[in-house]
Amino acid sequence: MSQALYQDRIVALAKSKTGAGTLAAPSAKAVRDNPLCGDRVTMEIRLDEHGRIAELAHKVRGCALCEASASALTARAVGHTTDEVAGLRREIDSVLSGESQGTGDFAAFAPVAQHRSRRDCVTLPFEALRAALGG
């Protein structure tokens, strides 16, 4: 089961560290913890004049699922509005509950639907981004 969970795509996404780092001049920042495992995601964003995410950077102290999620989220969130980011959250939730297969990199998380205890690892970056966006 875990071999399937950690498909090459997940490992590659985690290793890509897309968006890892910090911003010079963030317009907002948020930190979110998963108290059960101690994982922590710090999310920094800069919004443009239209309220779109111009830049995003994250620091993940977490597992491969959490890192892969942060990478996948970065790739899909930049250039988008708060509402559009909420749509991404709905998409990942439906993937994690097994209701849909997901599009693009989100599809890599489909096997997590079989591992209830790992779902929060995937959603933690989404929580941090929502918080940074003032949700």
Binding site: P35, R116, S117
Partner: protein
Amino acid sequence: MTSKTFDVGAIRRQFPILSRPINGKTLHYLDNGASAQTPQAVIDAVVAYETTSRANVLRGVHALAEAATELYESARADVGRFLGVTSPDEVIFTGGCTAAINLVAHSYGQRLKAGDEIVVSELEHHSNIVPWYQLAQRVGAKLVGLPVTQDGRIDVGALPKTVTPRTRVIALAHVSNVTGALLDVAPVVAAAKSVGAVVLLDGAQRAPHGPIDLPALGVDFYAFAGHKAYGPNGIGALWGRRALLDDMPPFMGGGSMIGRVSLEEITWAPPPRRFEAGTPPIGPAIGLGAACRWMMALDWSAVGTHEMGLTQRMMDGLAGIKGTRLIGPAGLQGRFPVISFTLEGVHPHDTAQILDSYGVAVRAGHHCAQPLMDRLDLPGTTRASIAPYNDASDVDALLEGVGEALRRFA
């Protein structure tokens, strides 16, 4: 004792203890109000957990931990369904009904201040008195007693003069463990609302008699015990209204109920975890989930007819024996199958001991309701309490033993 949809024999066969002679005698178990018996389905659910899925919950990623967590959380959902609530996150597993009430008294109780009032009734079980007494002592609040009528009901007519603007909590038995009287909940909720108080119902004696529709009752907290509802010992449940739970501080501290921990500052997890410190009673919770499923599978209108038929048989039988006195409501209206009585000239313990020699298990004494005994000026009562698996032979054995007790002692 068979009805169209209800076959007491089929029910009895699900309870292994009922087919074993106890001390060489057929068991007539009428002590269900103290602890009900448990069906094979509950035993099987716990043994299955112990032998196929045993692990700690919430914190592990391995297969057993995942399986245990699924079982534990689905037990929570079963309890929620049994209580008629849609959000299982409002259901907190506790060590028992007593622990559930203590949780509210400690956690919600932190809001209370000197001069605030807590209303309980004179017929409460000690478990719904002592935690409030202790809270009152801690904060300087006042414990106020709602009176009880001569036939053993909480006198809701006295609410207007008992509930005041200082009332913060009204904590009452949904069903009395001594008289079987059912509380008329609506006026209690109305009185509480009028002064901004919350209502806790102690459902220990109500839960064993079928699913409950909490939204219809409109109360704020509901507590019950697993072992009285055909589940294991060491488990109980507290339901609390989400908005209240969200604002309540934790009761006990430990693993799983925290956000971040340092020696300088600790933050709390959201409900229900905030209130489930440490490793929860996983096996017992799984057993309680199975007990709730077992109850939900019964046709309770048929069970109720059966239970109340036996109640009537017992009340009629006792009325026909000179020297007996019924304590509690005279009829079947607004009551559950808990029947207390006294025998003239016979101490309740002696009655219970003689009944034991007939294989009849009942409880005798103050039933953890000393204020009610004082109110009724009794040293105690003998109490028979009926479950779906009881039948006419149980009632008849009791009546035979009562006759013997009177002959021997009176």
